[in-house]
Subunit: 482 residues, 2 copies
């Protein structure tokens, strides 16, 4: 049995078992490992680098829009959770509690933060006195913990990494504008950096963040048709301001509650990235988030080896200098074929092959991970050619994912149709909804699909509720979600 | 009373009460706030930015030397601490324990990590099988918790931010080389980026890291003569490899324990930065770590205001484009004098003033925070002039701190001399030491000074132990430490 065949058999095909495919890929691409703590994973370097690139890009976008980073405590006193009624109900079941520290039992239990609204609300009430102190535009990069019953690497882990923005504003209009601005930053980042198309919309009341007035989300479709909530932005109104006494003297010297927002994305983006773009050969990374964009592999017989490797190193310097993330694999004990498979499995967007014939002709071969296309290019135009292929690759990956999402976004008129359709193939289902929590609940009970959001843009507005048949208030996307 | 006077009186002079000076400065410069959780602070944006700049610089240096980032769980099962005897004794008193989570009592208590040796040791034992898997060179940026009895913002907080590198090697020699390489990276970073001179050396056995074979440190002198351990690098030998079964098949197919290291710096660097460079006017930031390197303040009467502000904005663009971190303060409701004080207090290295006269002459005025020197410079050479003054400022600050450290580094022959000398003025004290823990302990008991390290380089080797008078094995730096 050749190494190639052995390799291919190590990843379960998507069509056979999507969940096993996912686990096979993340293990084989060395992105993570399970830890000795239930539900917590280790982000290995190959996986963590994806997060670092997301961080760098998002952080720049946050700063461009006037936000600054800060850091708040990991621990939240129990009494803080009691202050916002919906918030405590939403998070209490998932909290880990520190009850002892420094050899003593604590007087008040401390929760590990599942999110920092409460402790930040407390601090903002100290910092904000006057309209002159507003807006406060702060973001935090941090670890948070939600003790999950069922976990899945990256997509649902007890501890995860995220950013959480928390802002306070003078007026409701400003807070609403901030909420939508950050939602748009997420949409733009996820679509144009991760090449993942999303549906942008508002959550129904039963799916909104615990304590928010309104929650907005971007929803992405995985290759098995299930949804991943890829980012959320919350308009809190004055809920947290009232709970934590965030008050300011306005321009007329009157005490007012501030209007607050919060917004976040997390390491579950890594899971989405894998499930949207991956295929039976393994990971497939969009160029902008690929830690290695080009893998260079010198090939050919032993006698020309030194020359080819030397030229590869020269071209490496050229690409590196142009800002392209490039690596060379010139290990001698592994065959080119083995390496080709390896980097395909790891999802490197471009493979560059250089052999003695290419040397003679002043050429190199570029191979696209996503299409398999081979391009023979001139060495003296290498930077331009690589940049072009990276840009094309991003477009192709986005378009492929977009086409897949559109194909699997269907319109249904009744719960029975939804159920029948879901049994055939999972996807997103547009349906009318009367606005009652009861109907929404029934959809979930009978089909397993939850309302993902009420899209800002739909091609067709549905007129009747899929459950009760009453007049539809909204057209909603339903789907099974991770 | 003018605003200026009012301002000056808000910072306690260093000579009057150094501790109060420190707290006054960090509060007034808005670097932090106390949190509702005992011993935990909030890193406000002005303080957090200092950490971000340290992170960016260190991270680049780690990656240049082949290290990659990863992320391990916050929680550590209790049984893990039991595996390395010294380690558990060292950290047990400081651990917070999670005993309940998700509404249930846990079967095994989980500690919040005080450092990650144990959980990383466990993972390395899974990842390392063969000499081909070595070296493993991983770093983690994370929050850690040590439940401290007495805390001080930045310098000693229950939760703090840090990086911890953890490496595993085939041979002892390689692990030793790594330990010293990282120590050298810390020295270079602290001296050449933070402008803080340090004494590089090895810790005595009683001051080494719990579980290490050898610990090395860099020690900095604060303006009150006390020491801050600014970075540590540990050679573990096979201690953790034996405790966690980190074994590999060597080139002769024999099972061997790996040799490991760990190394870290933390947000206490921010405290050191303030205490080394600050003065009675407030913070004084070395240029490389200053979030704002140049503050531009347009001045002059109302009638020329628009013109001056317009030109200021043009020059802002020029500096910004040159990669200088620059801000403009053109607020009209605050006087130039108030602003001058404000940015001096915040430690901005260079103030740029631009008034109508400067406009006419094509000039601008640069004022150095550290020397107070004013330089009239040509606008068309602004970038070069600013870069020159920033470089000079770094040199001056380093040299000032170095001169201060040398002045307050004294040689003593006996414990009585040490005590008498310390009563006069705190500082670093070089003394001979026989090598016994008893003598070291006695120094601590009687003088409050601890052994900081055994410097790699000393001008004078002491021949007798300061306590017992026996032959000195080492020349040691003693000092009171934060």
């Amino acid at each position: 049995m050749s190494k190639d065949k052995q390799f291919v058999r190590e990843i379960t095909p998507q069509a056979e078992d999507f969940s096993r495919w996912y686990i096979d890929v993340i293990k084989k691409a060395d992105l993570m490992d399970y830890s000795p703590v239930r539900g917590c994973i280790v982000f290995k370097p190959e996986g963590y680098e994806l997060w670092e690139l997301c961080q760098r890009e998002l952080d720049a976008r946050f700063k461009e829009t006037g936000h600054r980073n800060a850091y708040f405590p990991l621990f939240i006193p129990e009494s803080f959770f009691q202050k916002e009624k919906e918030h405590v109900e939403g998070f209490n079941p998932e909290l880990p509690w520190v009850t002892e520290a420094g050899g003593e039992k604590l007087e008040e239990r401390l929760a590990i933060r599942p999110t920092s609204e409460t402790v930040i609300g407390h601090m903002y009430s100290k910092w904000i006195q006057s309209y002159r102190d507003l807006p406060v535009l702060i973001n935090q990069w941090a670890n948070v913990v939600r003790w999950e019953k069922r976990t899945l690497p990256f997509l649902r882990t007890s501890e995860f990494l995220w950013q959480e923005g928390h802002t306070a504003h003078e007026t409701e209009a400003e807070a609403r504008q901030e909420t939508l601005q950050m939602l748009e930053i997420y949409r733009d980042f996820v679509e144009n950096f991760l090449a993942i198309p999303v549906i942008v919309g508002q959550k129904t009341p039963s799916e909104k963040f615990a304590g928010a007035k309104e929650t907005y989300s971007i929803e992405a479709m995985m290759k098995d048709g299930r949804a991943v909530q890829a980012g959320t932005s919350h308009f809190m109104g004055t809920n947290f301001a009232e709970a934590f006494e965030i008050k300011y003297l306005d321009r007329d010297n009157q005490l007012q509650y501030a209007h607050t927002t919060s917004w976040g994305v997390s390491t579950r983006l890594i899971g989405a990235l894998i499930m949207v773009h991956g295929d039976d050969r393994g990971l497939c990374l969009p160029p902008k988030v690929a830690p290695t964009q080009v893998i260079m592999i010198p090939i050919g017989p032993a006698k020309t080896r030194d020359q080819v490797v030397a030229r590869t190193d020269e071209l490496y310097d050229v690409l590196k200098k142009a800002g392209i993330r490039v690596r060379v694999d010139d290990r001698q004990d592994l065959s080119p074929g083995w390496k080709f498979n390896e980097y395909e499995m790891r999802g490197v967007p471009i493979r560059l092959e250089l052999g003695p014939r290419d040397m003679e002709n002043g050429q190199a071969v570029l191979v696209s991970r996503v299409t398999g296309e081979k391009r023979v290019v001139a060495q003296d135009q290498l930077v331009e050619e690589v940049e072009r292929l990276l840009a094309e690759t991003h477009e192709q990956m986005y378009n492929n994912a977009k086409a897949f999402m559109e194909e699997n976004l269907k319109s249904v008129d009744s719960l029975d149709e939804l159920k029948a359709s879901m049994e055939q193939k999972r996807g997103f289902y547009l349906a009318g909804w009367c606005g009652s929590a009861a109907c929404e609940h029934q959809v979930k009970e009978e089909s397993g699909a939850t309302s993902r959001n009420i899209p800002f843009e739909v091609q067709e507005h549905k007129s009747t509720c899929l459950v009760c048949g009453d007049v539809a208030k909204h057209t909603v996307v339903f789907a099974r979600a991770y």
